[in-house]
Point group: D2
Chain length 377, copies 4
């Protein structure tokens, strides 16, 4: 049985999520390759030490670079704010570590390209944290599409909405500044595109419109300050298979908490999903007696692997954190040379390229062909 040493940078929302997943994966999946939780890095050294103990890391450090020269570490999880991803990922790759980085790769496309170059040069493996693609029901959708169960995919509608920016009285924060990126396009666009990629659906042409629900917000001093990011974005797109669709992204959508609503219309049926009910899948097949047709609501079950590795009984429900455990298991599979279901830097850069093509379309108020746009990017 093999072991792989893990270093983790960050202890926030995603840092904790990674730590829990690395800690749980062997228990859930068994498997030949066992992660060893070696070092937890976090600027605040005391916090690092405390959380290392909670999470089961053997060591902790206030300087993430300590990991680079540590021979016990073979893979580094990066969960810091996006602007730190390029430096950390590149140095880790150069140090001969595999890299597991939270999405998106980088705020700028140029930096993302540098990360990819470093990956290619290193010969090491890279993995991006697109956890929603790991839902067993998402795999079920992929299998249904590839088996033609709903025929040709004609139209796909994706909505991703939350309300953490919905309150107009919240003060101007870093997320309202241009330095944080485009806005909803970065936060939610990449997630929704990752789902399309996971379903083997590829966007070729985009028409994007971004909007600012609130033109300005008060800063800490009580002065109105212009909002520079777009909390909402809508994208019309065409797919390489001849189908088409939309992305609707909004982080100021009151009432929505973790909505990722998917509608896929095919020539023989349709599929409907909403992440807020992540254990349910609705499938319509245009066959049989009309009097019996309707959407069938399928509850996640052992018949949808790897749900079975978590719970042997159907309808009992996975949670958001379980998706990360599946993701980490896929990483272990990949590291052992098995087939895995992940988005690496190669695929990841195409996702981010799409986001930039969308932003370009917004600026030009015109349709943009993705491929040439990326070449000139």
């Amino acid at each position: 049985m093999g072991k792989i040493g893990v270093g983790l940078i960050g202890t926030g929302y995603m840092g904790k999520c990674h730590a829990l997943a690395w800690n749980a994966v062997s228990g859930v999946f068994g498997g030949e390759l066992k992660p060893e939780l070696v070092t937890l890095a976090e600027v605040n050294e005391e916090l690092a030490a405390a959380r290392a103990q909670d999470f089961g890391f053997a060591r902790s450090t206030g300087d993430w670079r300590d990991m680079l020269s540590d021979p016990d570490i073979q893979i580094i999880s990066i969960t810091t704010p996006n602007q730190f991803h390029p430096q950390m990922a590149i140095e880790a790759l150069e140090a001969g570590k595999h890299v597991y980085c939270e999405k998106p790769m980088a705020p700028s496309f140029t930096d993302a390209q540098k990360m990819l170059e470093a990956a290619r040069k290193s010969g090491k493996k890279t993995f991006l944290g697109y956890n929603y693609i790991q839902n067993p029901l998402m795999r079920r959708i992929r299998d249904m599409l590839s088996a033609g169960e709903i025929g040709d995919v004609l139209q796909v509608r994706l909505e991703m909405d939350e309300d953490f920016m919905a309150n107009p009285d919240d003060i101007w924060s870093i997320k309202s500044g241009a330095a944080s990126g485009y806005g909803a396009l970065d936060d939610f666009g990449v997630h929704t595109i990752s789902l399309l990629v996971a379903l083997d659906l590829h966007i070729e042409k985009v028409m994007c419109h971004m909007t600012k629900p609130y033109a300005s917000r008060k800063d800490c001093a009580g002065n109105q300050k212009s909002v520079e990011t777009y909390d909402a974005a809508t994208v019309m797109f065409e797919l390489s298979n001849g189908g088409n669709g939309t992305l609707q992204l909004n982080r100021s959508a009151w009432g929505r908490k973790g909505r990722i609503a998917i509608q896929i219309f095919g020539s023989k049926g349709s599929i409907v999903y909403d992440q807020e009910r992540m254990n349910e899948l609705k499938v319509y097949k245009a066959q049989g007696n009309t009097a019996e047709q309707g959407y069938t609501t399928i509850l996640a079950a052992p018949a949808h692997p790897p749900y079975d590795r978590f719970i042997p009984a159907p309808g009992h429900g996975l949670g958001f954190n379980d998706l990360k455990i599946i993701e980490v298991n896929e990483i272990l599979m990949s590291l052992q040379g098995h087939k895995s279901h992940l988005i690496d830097f190669e695929k990841g850069i195409s996702i981010e390229g799409l986001v930039h093509a969308m932003a370009l379309s917004h600026d030009q108020a015109a349709w943009v062909d993705v491929a040439p746009a990326l070449q000139t990017a």
Copy 2:
């Protein structure tokens, strides 16, 4: 108590629906003005006679023009295929009749304009059959918006989907021919725009993309024939209040039977509705304890007039045909000079103008300002 004589042209889907509504309205609403069902017109004279008896019309005819000179008739219901609307409406108006015409006004914008001119000249009243705006819950939404209950309207998403054109094996029909119009834009676009109008939301700028799920269909002889209409259309729009939104229209959407899904995001809350559950309204208000916030599902009830005129108990449910009864009552209100909630030719032409502006946007693959587009139309 007054009476008003009614003539009805057509006995199909909407003909029957009008007949039932004219017949039921006094029973449901009481009211000072009673409709008298005078004449039913239908090309097939025998059918006209049989259905006249069923529907309670005193007379029947195979020639709708018989009604024009009939002094017993003051209003004419037109429920024939769209291409007949202009001629019938214009002649009826010229004959001094009020006109109640099913939507849309006409396949061509020029004809719609002629209808409007005839209406203005006649001094008679005109009414269009936009029945979905009559749902008591739709009025409730309007009242909530105008009272600012969800704050400023920031984004509106409208989807209208059915699957009557979803089967690729269905043969080429008139609906696939260019003579029938644009496709989903006519069938569904006008309905969704009517809902915006009813909610006092006004589109200023559009970006439209129409698509053909199936490029060709077999004709009766078994030969492949090109499909000329667009069974699906997506529109991004900007509203005059600074908000924005989308229309997503698809008559080839397997699984959807009568879906009109509405999402309205405001600065203080949001509202969600789906016509397939026409007796339910979901409202989210961003107030109070976070632990208690969520969408409240409100069942149609006597507290939502005029539901109370149908049933004194809440949660018992209105049906699709009941909306037409409400519409007819609004017409009677209008004819008596009371305030009513209807779309006449003046408002109707702006709806159809919008559809044509959308089609123009599709042709140009560009954003189109609605106002100038209509002036040059």
Copy 3:
């Protein structure tokens, strides 16, 4: 084509509902036998006259007995408070009229028996207003059961809940007095049993427990007065087919407006329905791939007759009042000697007998065999 003259007693909730249905039935169904709305009776003569005009009755009267000798009337609709049913029904039958009476037959079982005797003696037809059985989806359930689509019926759970008696601050009303009957058992018990009867499921043994959510209420003078009726009742039962089930009835159930929730578990599948979503049926079949199994939500459609007589498009929705139109059409069918789907006094007395057997079970706090209980009743 034949005609049948209708007299209607009552203009309240159900009076209006009957009137609307008698008025609409020919328009919706066509049919050979046309109802003629002859006379509307209502104690308040002025009201009778006004509503007769609204509803389309030719004449009105303040004395219902005027109808008995009217040769133009062949059937009398009785929609008055329950205590008046026996007298009116018996006299109408004796006068040679068919009788269409709202449920239940009578507050006392003895009176119900007298009504049945009168019916048998008269040779006239009788019909009870159990409208919920007329839902096209209820017919669909019946067809599924009789075709064995979910195998043997093993367990049936029925819940009927509303909240019109839920407010403890509402004053003592006639519904809290023993003279009004048992309480929930009369209001809701008979409806739920009618659904079982319509599904060809027959209760043989009952164990009932009735409860008073509020022991007393203030009367108009502000004094506490004991509540004599049971606003809630629970019944366990065994069916003649070997299956079993429950009724749960509550007219003090805050939040429920028109709930009639049905769960039918069979040896090959299950069926779930809720009247608050009366256009939806959920069906589970234990067949095929486990990964695809789930409840299919079927929307009411033309494939579920007689939905097609109302609307030619699926998923557009019938309303509560439409059920009464179907009921009246069934009556017209029956009067013409066609097969119909109705509950007459013969079946109706077994429903009310069951209610009395349930009350007996409550008094005895013991299981009661229905058949012998009724013989000694």
Copy 4:
């Protein structure tokens, strides 16, 4: 910071669930007391060794008694089949270990009493695995009830249904034999009662009816063999607060996978919950404008602790296994002398006593007072 040594017996469904929880709890909750996973016991020694490595246990054994004398172990998790609980729990307590035992305590009430005696004598702590009570939304319900937010609790309906025994073609298994207990009453009854206990609702009187969906099943040899257990049970009950309710339990309910449906009707509102959508709570409050009243669907969120310890964002969803992590954290809280929310042997025996009182009621076909029934048990 303290440590507590854990021994775990069993590696099946619940064994794995315990292992994952013990392994994850510090990562999720931090906390002063850290579990050390000392020994995993499992009859199959090889399996024990393999799973110990997966789960993170330091040692493994084929003989659970090895743990009794191990000073490194302070608490023993028992997840073996129910019949082994008494012996293991009693010996563990006698050896001075705390005991964490899966529900129910024991197949026989006498054995459960012996377990309680052993617990009292030992002075050690006991914990039962009633994980459903740990759902943050269940705590929210408890808080709402105790704060009187829906007024007095008038009626509670609990349904627990799955379909693992629904297939009549499945062969006779141990679960169909009387040695396994009553049937649904043991499998599901105790869970539903635990929820009532957690909500501070106490059953005083019961009327129970158990049924066998299938009277016989084929055994391995193909011979029909009588089914001795009751796969379904219905219980009417009265609560000590004057309210009443029902349990409906069915492990042969096709289509239900993990349903625990709860309806609580109070004098000021109601609460509805279904475990199959374990991240949603529906609350109705009878206050404010009638036109706005309805059930509010609340998504699990950081505002419902300890959801916040898992995910900082609302609406992202916990899973079934997360409930066990909360349970283990409560155990750690309890062991440190903090307030905790758990069911120990004292409370647990009252749950099992209730089950036996229910079975007695079934045998007698009569209402049974719980308190005296337990005294004579």
